[in-house]
């Protein structure tokens, strides 16, 4: 049995083991409330016992295919940290580092870098040659290997990530509401290319993460458990996170006219249309990776237009498509509607 700790030089380490889908969220949110109230910085681990879908705080519920989730028995929860809708299951081990807000950089990017960097040592100790790239993604090659998010809960900052031992690309795509099968296939293709599992020993990963975060923060790790107040917070959060109003989310942006899906930082897929011209395209950096066009008016040049767009920067898309007559101009207008701002 572990005991609660309060030493100022202590890094509390709490391994929640396997937890229900709901508790795999509410347990660490309760830790944030505890740290906000004066509990020591805390590194926690949790593995969801069952699959579910989780939305970033601001994301629209209609980004998720709720009919698919209901059919598959996947609950949908909303977290207090950022990022998009994601599919989680027992093939992913989640870690959360939580500190008093006053102890992290006021600059969010710097805070994120400071609190993600120790995780790199953990991946490497587990045999995964991970890097933190310029887009603040933990990667191996061009693949994102860790889904992260961050947030401030009262007076505590928490950064979350995961060791993806297995990743179900099909389900991760299926939980998203997408307007047509072409976009679904393209999202799946890009997800397979840019999001990947790194099978590794989770115990080795956890052990190394504890050492790395303790070292980076100058703290002494000590196995612990939630305090009675934190357990009370868990129960309150269980109620909050299952309430319709919380799952519906805050009053935020109106639904964008173009469906855009971020695969990883700098990689996204969109579906847009203008009059009878329909576009599904994937973008890497600022260049088109693949464009797929449909028009209800027959046009023999569609395949040539698709081929011409590969590798073209978004800013030059109108000029390239202008070479394809009035159809090209309609396709260009569809392209112009996608700006990545909804991501």
């Amino acid at each position: 049995m572990t005991r609660p700790v309060r030493d100022a030089d202590t890094l509390r380490v709490i391994d929640f083991g396997r937890a229900s889908a709901l508790r795999s969220q509410t347990l660490w949110h309760a830790v944030a409330h505890g740290v906000s109230s004066g509990e020591p910085p805390t590194l926690s681990f949790v593995r969801p016992a069952e699959p579910y879908v989780c939305l970033g705080y601001h994301r629209r519920l209609d980004e998720v295919d709720r009919a698919y989730c209901a059919e598959e028995g996947l609950p949908i929860y909303r977290r207090m940290v950022g990022g998009g809708p994601v599919y989680l299951d027992s093939g992913q081990l989640f870690f959360q580092i939580c500190l008093p807000a006053r102890s992290v950089s006021p600059a969010r990017t710097a805070a994120l870098r400071d609190l993600l960097s120790p995780a790199l040592s953990a991946y490497r100790a587990a045999g995964v040659e991970a890097e933190l790239d310029g887009n603040m993604e933990i990667t191996v090659g061009e693949s994102k290997i860790c889904g992260h998010g961050a947030g401030q809960v009262e007076e505590a900052v928490v950064v979350c990530g995961n060791l993806i031992e297995r990743f179900d690309h099909e389900r991760a795509t299926s939980i998203l509401w997408l307007p047509n099968p072409t976009m679904r296939a393209e999202v799946l293709r890009m997800m397979r290319r840019f999001v990947n599992a790194t099978p590794a020993d989770p115990e080795q990963f956890k052990h190394a993460a504890v050492a790395a975060y303790a070292d980076a923060l100058g703290l002494t790790p000590e196995a612990s458990d939630l305090t009675p107040l934190e357990w009370a917070a868990v129960e309150a959060l269980d109620e909050q996170f299952t309430s319709e109003s919380w799952i519906a989310g805050p009053h935020g942006r109106p639904r964008p006219p173009v469906r855009e899906v971020k695969i990883r930082a700098g990689v996204w897929v969109f579906a847009a249309e203008h009059e009878d011209a329909r576009v599904v395209a994937s973008v890497v950096g600022d260049s088109v990776d693949r464009a797929q066009f449909r028009t209800s008016t027959p046009y023999d040049g569609l395949s040539a237009a698709e081929a011409a767009m590969a590798g073209v920067t978004l800013s030059k898309a109108p000029a390239v498509l202008a070479g394809f007559g009035s159809t090209g101009r309609r396709l260009a207008a569809a392209f112009a509607a996608a700006d990545g701002k909804s991501l």
Binding site: G56, S105, R108, A111, L112, G151, Q152, P250
Partner: protein, 159 residues
């Protein structure tokens, strides 16, 4: 401090490379500005350092109109770099209006923080709390310049 000038609605000066509107009050810790609109009614927004340290704004959301706020409580949330954090109210009051334009396009708050990028308006703003804010051009520019210098020394923002 250099280059004081008036834009459409605000009087801006440049302090250590950042624009600062000196026709309003500031809450140092939250990097929020407060501008009186009518007696008892104020407009609130992020200052240029608050924008800079947030990074590229991805999402903004606000509490509902009619909600009563205590000083130091969140009147909304800001997301940048997948990091969600509270927008902290610099004074107590009742939310009377929120800026839909910045919800639809958070970039407005980034590019015009003292003008079109305002966040919320409060009525019944607490006069005692307003008196606690930085309220003279001298105090504002001295605080802002000192904070920029501190942030640069600590590597919080670039030189």
């Amino acid at each position: 401090m250099t280059n004081a000038h008036t834009t459409g609605h605000e009087i801006l000066v440049e302090v250590s490379g950042y624009p600062v509107a000196v026709d309003r009050m500031y809450h140092a810790d939250s990097h929020m500005w407060v501008k009186r609109l009518t007696p008892g009614t104020v407009r609130v927004g992020l200052d240029a350092l608050g924008v800079e340290t947030s990074g590229t704004l991805a999402q903004l959301s606000f509490v509902a109109v009619g909600d009563e706020l205590a000083r130091g409580r969140a009147f909304g949330q800001l997301e940048a770099a997948k990091f969600v954090g509270p927008l902290v109210s610099p004074v107590s009051g009742t939310v009377s209006r929120t800026n839909d334009a910045v919800v639809t396009d958070p970039g407005v708050a980034e590019h015009d923080p003292y003008g079109e990028g305002w966040l919320v308006e409060l009525t019944s703003a607490d006069e005692t709390e307003l008196a606690d804010l930085l309220g003279t051009p001298e105090a504002i520019t001295e605080w802002f310049g000192r904070t920029v210098e501190d942030y640069r020394l600590r590597g919080v923002i670039a030189e």
